[in-house]
Symmetry: C2
Subunit: 352 residues, 2 copies
């Protein structure tokens, strides 16, 4: 299996020479696209969309049909792993994800086990394989997972949270229990990502959406440590090709050097971090991914283009930059501004 | 007017020698205290509580009666200034602050004017004077205001926001309009804080609650620049005593050096910043305030004490540290854990 025809994204992650700065967008297959909303309606629910390999494949490809993106990302949810652990994921209308059985009791935590991804998450592997076939080696496919700490936040809180009061109470009062959850989550995420790689994922990203809610000390102990374990356990090549790994901690800009040291190929940055300073801080250690403010896409087309150029210029010349947003694209984003963004990134970076 | 009997807080802000690390807590007069809830009920509403100098004084003193805190902070709301500008502040039950007339139209932005604090915010100045009389020079009184950008977020959004979509759309599309609002806000905040100082505030803090939602470049242009203007315009002494100024940008840890350079005496830090690293970064330029995770107060008393000691030890020996939380105290915090915190901070820092 050769590298895809457009392998700019993979080369940028590995800091090999590129002709332009590649880009993809976190949550690029999503509600801002009318065609996505139609498929979702057809699926019946978000979860049924995730669990149908054919429909997951369909929505994965939708943004690539519209825009000249340099990578596809598996359409799935970050909570598939705890769902496969038996916590009972569901989505209450307009309320975000919830678990029927939040993980708080000591006995339940002791009983927690990593699921076999090829059995309990078969639908994800089937989607990966189907998307790879559909992509026909045009652009690389990114696999992904939530980080152990981010998964634990949802598992312990029983859903989303503004303040993470329950999981932080456990963190400070019963760190042993939280470490037990994180250990199982790290095992589960490692085998989940490896199964995605074996099914055809050509790069993987760990989404640490909530690590930034921790103190510096707690971040290292409860989030970064476990991501380091995962990175160490990942398959580094598949069919002779290197499979790069991206680690993205939202709100993690202060800990960039620490993240860059865990063995990943690239670090994702949210929009609060200055890319020029970030590049100086990591040197040649890792590639950087990011970091346009997703809400700059609500501005005029001229302002969108100006802000995209500012991000490109702050990284500067040379490889090692994958353009992205600093967080998932918002559901109310005007799709025509995404076209402006993609065009600007490609054109402006070719000039550099 | 002499310095208060306990002036440890003021001395720490000015990096003069202290016998122990002083502490106060953001939102220390608040819903976690049953006596506060009773006074609020008596007031009829939160806004009536803010607007009654006698009741504002009463709740300001409540945490000092319970705990051995080293400073009092004026009880008020950060949105008094835009309310005095005529935007019509109100609180819908369980919904947070709202404005009857959000500021979005160009004509309204052109018409915006800074209010005279001694006329339109007389009730705040009366509260400051009444609290000073009641404190009888026991501990210093802190005055405060929201930052120009934080006020603008509420003014443009019309209330709280998860994503600041409206204000960011203005920022990227019509920066001239946002700059016009920020210019008026900076004037208004300067005269508001100076009036508080003239009424008796012995230190002031600028709360930049939402500056951390901006990109590094936008933070400097739309938040920090205006706080620098305010700091330059503040009265530096009152009755021969120096009035220190603290700047707190939640989520601003990455920009610490920039904040420390605007002329303030101290920088407030949220819990995500490592205090030891922060101290190395600012050297002798400013004092530092913070930065316990407010949710560590939900843990066992032993864990609360351990986490407080960890924060103290990370700052290390010598003056220049004011202990605080990294954000306002949560309404569900067990009051008995606050007692453990205050006791631990005083005892442990005396040993150092």
């Amino acid at each position: 299996m050769a590298r895809p025809k457009n392998d700019t994204f993979l080369r940028a992650l590995l800091r090999e020479p590129v002709e332009y700065t590649p880009l993809w967008l976190m949550r690029q297959a999503g509600r801002y696209l009318p065609e996505y909303c139609e498929t979702r309606k057809r699926a019946g629910s978000f979860l049924q969309l995730c669990k149908s390999p054919a429909l997951a494949c369909e929505v994965t490809l939708q943004p690539l049909a519209r825009y000249d993106l340099d990578a596809a990302i598996l359409f799935s949810d970050i909570l598939t792993v705890p769902d496969a652990m038996g916590l009972g994921l569901y989505f209450a209308e307009g309320e975000g994800p919830k678990f029927e059985r939040p993980l708080r009791e000591e006995w339940a935590i002791r009983d927690l086990e990593a699921p076999d991804p090829n059995v309990h998450l078969r639908y994800v592997m089937d989607a990966v394989a189907e998307i790879r076939r559909a992509l026909d080696n045009s652009v690389p496919l990114i696999g992904f997972s939530g980080s152990p700490f981010t998964l634990a936040c949802y598992m312990v809180e029983g859903g989303g949270s503004d303040d993470f009061r329950t999981v932080k109470t456990m963190l400070y009062s019963r760190p042993d229990l939280l470490h037990r959850i994180l250990k199982v989550n790290a095992e589960a995420v490692t085998s989940y990502l490896n199964a995605q790689i074996e099914s055809g994922a050509q790069a993987v990203q760990i989404f640490d959406t909530w690590g930034g809610a921790l103190s510096a000390a707690a971040y290292k102990e409860f989030s970064l440590q476990y991501m380091e374990q995962i990175v160490a356990g990942l398959k580094k090549t598949q069919d002779g090709e290197r499979v790069p790994c991206i680690v993205f901690t939202k709100g993690g800009g202060q800990w960039l050097e620490d993240i860059a040291a865990i063995g990943c190929d690239a670090v994702g940055l949210d929009w609060t971090t200055d890319l020029a300073a970030a590049r100086r801080r990591v040197g040649d250690k890792v590639a950087l991914q990011g970091n346009l403010d997703p809400f700059s896409l609500f501005a005029t087309p001229e302002a969108v283009a100006a802000e995209a150029r500012r991000v490109l210029d702050s990284y500067g010349e040379g490889s090692g930059h994958v353009f992205n947003l600093g967080h998932g694209i918002n559901q109310f984003t005007p799709p025509e501004n995404v076209a402006v963004l993609v065009d600007t990134v490609h054109k402006h970076s070719r000039k550099n």
